[in-house]
């Protein structure tokens, strides 16, 4: 048993001696050219093809406003659609039971969603948005601090 342990230790020392004495492998001569070509390709891309964080500030703000507007429009259109569903249901022929069922389900689901959305006051929604933003910034800050602390010396 001891012989086996000694043999394993000797094997580890031998392999370590070989590997620690190994010089670095030579990188291919094409590597630098590939990196430079890729950087030039990235630089030639229009700003909107880069990641969101690299967009101009005005573009980022505009995009966020657009996203908020689009969300609001979807909500308004949904509400409008729900009221139209009732009209469709009323005008449908009595034998089209499946249409009555379908509009009933859609209308019920829509009404439930609108009830939930409308039950939140504007103050609540703004507050929730601020809390989410604060949580995101805090989490991002903690993550960056932890990364720098843990990996700065590695």
């Amino acid at each position: 048993m001891k012989d086996t342990a000694d043999e394993q230790a000797r094997l580890e020392r031998t392999v370590n001696r070989w590997l620690s004495g190994q010089p670095l492998r030579h990188a291919p001569a094409t590597l630098a050219d590939r990196v430079l070509a890729q950087l030039e390709h990235r630089a030639a891309l229009p700003w909107w093809r880069h990641s969101f964080l690299r967009w101009p500030v005005a573009a980022r703000i505009g995009f966020l406003l657009l996203a908020i507007g689009a969300t609001k429009s979807v909500l308004v259109l949904s509400q409008w659609g729900i009221t139209r569903l009732d009209l469709v249901k009323a005008s449908a022929a009595p034998e089209m039971n499946w249409l009555h069922s379908l509009t009933g389900v859609l209308s019920g689901t829509g009404n439930l969603l609108m009830l939930v959305v409308n039950s939140f006051s504007a103050t609540w929604l703004y507050g929730a948005g601020i809390v989410l933003a604060a949580l995101y910034v805090t989490l991002f800050g903690l993550g960056a601090t932890a990364y720098r602390t843990l990996y700065s010396n590695s």
Partner: protein, 168 residues
């Protein structure tokens, strides 16, 4: 870049065992370094940062194939097909009479011939100087498996270097 390209490429090539993939990973490392150029240009730890990124990207690349790799690795272990044979006594003089340049080349070729589940922990232990525990955590396997794989890798490497299988 020229100061670090061999170090970055070596890290990737030894972990991946494939020159083409290592070049792709090296390219990605330097592109990421370019994104952090302001931080890195005055940093004393730029080399460490590049080495860490090269190691992580290489391991992430391997992780994409991890399930397939673990499946075959575990199957071989269960079926006992991966026995390394009787204990192999390392001759003290092995490679001593080989010229340094040729010895280096033979060792690199032998490393590339090791199966992935042996080469990766061996490289992480001897080149990246990670502990058994760190390797186990990084590869998401048990410490016992890491120790067994590294021991088998050392034995296999020694056999390869002592045989005629490694091109000279």
């Amino acid at each position: 870049m020229h100061a670090y390209q061999n170090m970055v490429y070596s890290t990737a090539a030894r972990l991946l065992g494939d020159p083409a993939q290592a070049e792709d990973i090296s390219q990605e490392v330097f592109l990421r370094a370019y994104d952090h150029f302001d931080d890195l240009q005055s940093s004393a730890t730029a080399g460490g940062w590049l080495k860490t990124v090269a190691r992580n990207l290489s391991l992430n690349h391997l992780t994409r194939y991890r399930k397939r790799w673990q499946f075959f690795s575990d199957r071989r272990n269960e079926e006992g097909e991966e026995e390394t044979g009787p204990e192999f006594s390392v001759p003290d003089s092995l490679l001593d009479d080989v010229a340094a340049e040729e010895r280096h080349q033979r060792i690199e070729l032998a490393l590339d011939q090791l199966p992935e589940h042996q080469r990766v922990p061996l490289v992480l232990f001897h080149f990246e100087e990670l502990s058994y525990q760190d390797i186990a955590t990084r590869l998401r396997v048990s410490v016992a498996k890491v120790k067994i794989d590294i021991h088998r890798a050392r034995t296999a490497l020694t056999r390869l270097l002592g045989s005629e299988d490694v091109p000279q």
